[in-house]
């Protein structure tokens, strides 16, 4: 048996089909993954993401520490309480140890990292803390619920207290605010508007119940994966890992090169790779029958080097298969993918397929 989130019994009560995910018992779906996917695109769905790891960074050197630790620059958050930043945490070779979100809190910073990488992330963060006056505090008792979709904000407000609803009303996109013991962020992993709410674990089941009552559909990790893939968002361990440079994972935009004298971990390796050139992460679209899957080979016409699919699925919104793939920089607009001994033609597109319910293809 794996770890259980405070919402474990809520999942069982809702008919959740539980699977192991990074050592946690999590719902893969509550019946139909596709129906859950459509709920998020058209109405509102919620995900238990309590398995994610929350670490608060406090102390006099918190800002300096994170400016060294992360490829993106938390100085962008200066004077913007609640503002969030997406970044890679890199090793000396520029490989991605994890991707994370960091929020600017008045008391310091709140970092949210992946659950499967928790142990190595914490070890790395502790190791790099040497010489900095900081404290790292894991907030293991917090639950986290992501409510996503065009109706997510309205329906969440119905389930919240008036004070919480007022905080939600004031939230700009990609910012978060604490209210009492809660922290409400207008962030997500689906390509839809929505919220991610951290709250004490013992309050989570009642809030989940209130969200159900206001018409928010419970959604499992299956729908979370198809939604993030349609939105072109990376999944750690698929699109990137410790051997992948962010430049080859469509994360170039998360590297803050300026100011030039900020010496973040991995900078030197990234600078050389930037000059030499890297592979690139692209989107693939298969209009024929078939489903692209991670690990399949991508053949680029006129190119000796092949690419590989990092994530692939049937897209419930588009009605055909899409994928993300790492391919040589020379790749153009067409390729083929070998699926069960057949070479299927695919189009190469930007890795961004659906946003706010609309096809970008």
């Amino acid at each position: 048996m794996g770890h259980k989130t405070p919402l474990y019994q809520s999942h069982i009560d809702a008919g959740g089909k539980m699977v192991d995910f990074g050592g946690w018992d999590m719902p893969i779906n509550y019946g139909s993954q596709i129906e859950e996917h459509h709920k998020v695109r058209h109405s509102a769905g919620m995900f238990d993401v309590s398995h994610m790891t929350v670490v608060d960074v406090t102390g006099a050197d918190a800002r300096a520490y994170l400016r060294a630790l992360l490829a993106n620059d938390v100085a962008k958050l200066d004077g913007k309480p609640g503002k969030a930043l997406y970044s890679g945490m890199l090793n000396e070779k520029g490989g991605v140890i994890d991707d994370l979100i960091v929020y600017n809190l008045e008391s310091g910073y709140r970092v949210v990292v992946n659950c499967a990488t928790r142990d190595k992330d914490l070890a790395w963060m502790e190791k790099q803390a040497a010489g900095f006056d900081i404290s790292l505090t894991e907030q293991a008792s917090l639950a986290m619920i992501a409510i996503q979709g065009p109706e997510a904000i309205e329906r969440t407000k119905q389930a919240a207290t008036p004070a919480q609803a007022a905080v939600i009303d004031a939230l700009a996109v990609f910012t978060g605010q604490p209210t009492d013991e809660w922290f409400i962020g207008r962030t997500g992993y689906t390509g839809e508007d929505g919220l991610e709410i951290m709250l004490p674990g013992d309050q989570a089941p009642a809030f989940w119940q209130a969200l159900l009552a206001s018409g928010v559909a419970p959604c499992g990790l299956g729908a979370r994966d198809t939604l993030r893939l349609e939105a072109g968002m990376n999944l750690y361990g698929h699109e990137m890992d410790e051997t992948t440079l962010p430049l080859a994972a469509n994360m170039g935009w998360t590297i803050a090169w300026e100011p030039a004298d900020r010496d973040f971990i991995g900078r030197a390796a990234l600078a050389s790779a930037r000059t030499a050139g890297t592979d690139k992460l692209v989107g693939l679209v298969l209009k024929e029958r078939g489903v692209l899957r991670a690990g399949q080979t991508v053949v680029i016409p006129g190119c000796d080097q092949a690419g590989v699919i990092t994530s692939g699925t049937f897209s419930p919104t588009l009605g055909y298969s899409i994928a993300m793939a790492r391919v040589p920089a020379a790749a153009g607009s067409d390729a083929t993918v070998e699926v069960r001994n057949k070479q299927l033609p695919v189009s190469i597109v930007k890795p961004n397929f659906v946003r706010h319910g609309q096809s970008l293809i």
């Binding site: 993954q33 299956g222 489903v291 419930p316 069960r340």
Partner: protein, 130 residues
């Protein structure tokens, strides 16, 4: 709990076979199989007129989650395929033993089904998996 029907024969790879009154055999995947696969999005069946062999690959079912080969429980000639699955593959999920059938075979040797599992044997096979 998955449904298992007593009148059917089963393969450990989760196909079912039903011998019809006219001696033909209808083939599909079980309720347990559709539940494990999740939402089915494509089904590839053999073509009408093709021959299939017992225990050999005869098609593929793709769900959002994974692709899975389909094996034929009997040898023979394919005499019909379920065209409706092209537009409504979700019938495999909603009605695995009825509307969600895959193909029908005119068997060359019906005794091959003697080697297949009965309902109790299939139930035991599922439980051994879990």
């Amino acid at each position: 709990m998955s449904e298992i029907r007593s009148e059917l024969k089963y393969l450990p790879s989760h196909e079912w076979a039903r011998v019809e009154e006219d001696g033909t055999v209808t083939i599909g995947i079980t309720d347990h199989a559709q539940s494990s696969l999740g939402d089915v999005v494509y089904v590839e069946t053999p073509e009408v007129g093709a021959s299939v062999s017992a225990g050999e690959e005869a098609g593929v079912v793709e769900s959002v989650k994974a692709a899975s080969d389909i094996y034929s429980p009997v040898s023979g000639e394919v005499i019909a395929i379920n065209d409706a699955l092209e537009d409504e593959p979700e019938q495999v999920n909603s009605s695995p033993f009825d509307d969600g059938w895959f193909f029908k075979v005119k068997p060359s040797d019906l005794s091959e089904l003697d080697d297949a599992l009965d309902a109790d044997g299939y139930q035991a096979a599922i439980e051994a998996d879990e």
